[in-house]
């Protein structure tokens, strides 16, 4: 069940990136895809063990801490990606006054002619 939901989340994100015309919605789609992958890693790593990965005395049967540690960095990288792409979107908006990629394309062709 979890995997179905995560695959659906990933595909919604990919669909937003591939189909939607609005740049801001594309950036949101990138965030969706990243969140789906992060959640998948954490859920798969938690498949073994039951306790959180904090070793008090006598703690046994912890979940695998490695996917969690890797996903920590992935989350920060996703913030970087979002910020950089929003910066480019802002620049495009300043240049063309719109977030619609079709309109930007027609204006570019119009300028080049």
């Amino acid at each position: 069940m979890n995997e179905f939901l995560l695959l659906a989340l990933f595909l919604i994100g990919l669909g937003m990136v591939a189909i939607d015309k609005n740049i801001i919605k594309k950036v949101i789609g990138l965030g969706f895809m990243n969140n789906a992958v992060v959640l998948l890693f954490v859920i798969r790593g938690a498949g073994i063990g039951e306790k959180a990965a904090i070793l008090a005395t006598g703690t046994e049967n912890i979940v695998d801490p490695l996917p969690q540690a890797l996903m920590l960095t992935a989350i920060v990288i996703s913030v970087c990606i979002t910020a950089l792409s929003l910066g480019f979107a802002y620049k495009l908006f300043m240049q063309f006054g719109t977030f619609d990629i079709d309109e930007i394309k027609t204006r570019l062709e119009h300028e080049n002619r």
């Binding site: 995560l6 990933f10 669909g15 998948l40 073994i48 904090i54 920590l72 970087c80």
Partner: protein, 239 residues
């Protein structure tokens, strides 16, 4: 017409679904050997009770170094992109100041001034106790960044204050980045090796190194994300 425009994107989604489905529905058992090793040896090797922070600051510190470099480059790139965006006339500046003054009223300033410092203290708590409780550098840094954004919402009323705050944050970020690299190289000076823990069990507990790195990473992440958010808030950032 509408469908014809969307068809390639939908086809891409379908293909991606077929490629990704085996990865998402993998039934292979997750390997337990590494988990068992961490469970048995983490405390004696690094001194940290929180295995996750022991991994990203001890066993896989190289990962954290790469992440810090990526974050630094992303901040530089974003600032560079935002800087070139438009010209900055006097009328534009006045309009900016007026719009920001209208958007944050006295209520927002009052609340952010009271709650912001508490969020900052909580961020430092999450960083300092990251070795033995849920939390650590990255999480504390994110809390710190939200505190910085919170304070900036009430504090930034003119473009000049925004630019000054961004400059300060950038200095903090650069200094913490240099400190991080120095901490990673300190193992070479002592003789334990690159990225290794310079403190042995004899004089200083090795967990001191983890806590130190947690605080440095937290300040760096907090300053970077706060800087990015304020750059977005301030719009075009010509001096």
């Amino acid at each position: 017409m509408k469908f014809r425009e969307q068809a390639p994107g939908m086809a891409a989604c379908l293909i991606a679904a077929m490629i990704m489905a085996p990865i998402f529905f993998l039934k292979a058992p997750w390997p337990v050997q590494l988990r068992d090793r961490y469970e048995a040896h983490t405390i004696e090797e690094t001194g940290a009770r929180n295995v996750v922070s022991a991994i990203y600051l001890g066993y896989r510190a190289f990962d954290t170094l790469g992440e810090a470099i990526v974050l630094f480059i992303a901040v530089l790139g974003t600032l560079h992109v935002m800087q070139q965006s438009s010209s900055n006339s006097k009328a534009e500046l006045a309009r900016w100041n007026q719009s920001r003054n209208a958007s944050n009223g006295s209520t927002v300033r009052f609340i952010t001034g009271k709650v912001g410092p508490i969020i900052l203290v909580f961020g430092f708590y999450v960083m300092t106790f990251g070795y033995s409780s849920p939390g650590g550098g990255f999480q504390g840094g994110a809390v710190l960044a939200s505190g910085i954004i919170f304070i900036a919402l009430g504090y930034i009323r003119t473009k000049r204050t925004a630019l000054k705050q961004m400059k300060d944050l950038h200095h903090i970020e650069v200094v913490s980045f240099v400190l991080l690299i120095a901490a990673f190289f300190s193992g070479i000076v002592v003789g334990t090796g690159f990225l290794a823990n310079p403190f042995s069990h004899d004089d200083i507990q090795p967990v001191v190194f983890i806590t130190l790195l947690n605080i440095i990473v937290g300040i760096k992440v907090g300053a970077s994300i706060g800087l990015l958010a304020i750059a977005m808030y301030a719009g075009d950032i010509h001096e």
